[in-house]
Amino acid sequence: MEGLNLLLKKLIRTASGRKRFVLAVIGLSVAMLLILAAVQIQADYNELLVSKSNQDSIANFLVVNKSLTDQNLGNTALSDSDINDLKKQPFVESIGLLSPSLFKASIQSNSDRFPFYTDIAFESVPDSFIDVAGKDWQWTENSPYIPLIVPNMFLDFYNFQFSFSQNLPQLTQQVVKMILFKVNIYGKNGMISLQGKVVGFSDRISSLLVPEEFMRWSNARFGKDQQTKPSRLIIKTKDPGNPQLTKYLHSKQLVTDAEKTRFSRYRQVVDIVVSVSWLSGAVMLAFALLVFTLFIQLTIASSKEEIGLLIILGASPYQLQKFLMRQFFPINLLIICISVIVISLLQFYTHGLLQSQGIFINVYPSIFTLLTAAILLIVIWWVNRVTIRSYIKKVN
């Protein structure tokens, strides 16, 4: 077999058209790198979105309400169809309605040494949307106090602004959690006073939250009769940076915390980078394959007489195909191997670079990158084979 290949090598010169060959090899290499890089970037980005170590729990919950304009003042309730439509969107995992309190309320210090008083309103959401709900987060009519969850922001506001202006002491979360205070509720039959206590701090929802049981009970008992429709709701989503979500909210004139959807900008940039890389990679691949095919054709055409005579002497088309594949295919294999190695090195380097910034991506290239490389290898193999086959047939 070796002897035959040596003789065939002497007869079928692959040296003609060197320049074209080098061009084809360079083109294929760049195309391969671009395509594999596109796949790897996409894979890394997806990993950043879903992996635990990178998950930003606040960002996955979005409080949504209608954007308030001069036209819809006093009419910001969300209709059932709005809510149902939102539920159907692929980027929404679940929806919770925020119920506001329908009565006037205030909180007030129990102690004269540390006086404070403020009017407030509450909201409640289903427990599954609360990140700090513990065993204290329960309320029955017999409970000694109403548990509250307070936005961190409120405490910051108190500690770093209010306390200075009122000459009050600064308070840690632990201290705040120990303070019992009065919760005054003003109903149809006058005011009643209950006890309240902060049981947790959250960044997720910027409202004073009370348990849903308490909200139902108090609204029924003290609320004005009207049934109000919810005007705010909370969405749980896998990817608040999803440009689709931002686009949807915008089209429905809904707003949410813009900071939380900031990822959608980055995401769009990544999307553009990935698609440009894809597209240019695909175009280059097409051209490189074309040039490579031309090179194969040229080789066969320039050895047309030799191939013809070989077939006359009894060389089977299969023998010649096998020989030609052995001449052309290994370089492709090499190109793909080198591309995969380069991508792996880049991934390793990027891993190190991002790690120092607290962003974690896999140190190895993604399985999809390797799969893509394998698929491209098959495509190239197939193109080689078909070209060689059809041109040998033409010579025959």
Binding site: L7, L309, P317, N396
Partner: protein, 215 residues
Amino acid sequence: MTITFQNLLPIPLKDRFLQRSSDIWNTTIQFEESAFIKIKAPSGTGKTTLIHILYLLRNDYEGAILFDSNPIKELKDFELATIRQQKLSIVFQDLRLFPDLTARENIELKRILQDPYYPKEMIDSMAAELGVTHILEQRAGLCSYGEQQRIAIIRALIQPFSWLIMDEPFSHLDNENIDRAANLIDRECKKRGAGLMITDLEHDTHFYYTRELNL
């Protein structure tokens, strides 16, 4: 393997051949295994055409050729390759050596195109018998026509076959060389139990022919 011609007529020469009688054209004739056939054909009677049709280089003919009972027009590419590697060996009138390969490489190529029938030492032994040892390492294109003819004969004998077809194989050889070549050919055919089909312009006594035909 028997070879059968059934009303064979090359289309380009059809009108001319219909007007004269021939032992081969437009008739049915069968060649048994191991037969030694001489086809005598003056110039212009379609000698090379016949060889090319038989070797499947052209198919612009009417009628049919059967190898055993199989029409050769129906052979697939790979079947044809197998036949040329195992069953049919040929010496073309125009020899068809690769001019850029050495004489030895030309023969070696044919030897290893299939599972070798002979070890490679046989090349030297045959070359010695035909007196071409000194040109084995020379490019075939640089050899004289007579030398090339002998190389082509060795190339045809180095492979397995059940029919050896030769188109004016001795045209450029002197009598002494013809005798040596004919001896070798005769021996190789007998060894394989193979048939021989040889075309030439004149009557000759190089072999004991089982049949002599006029084209």
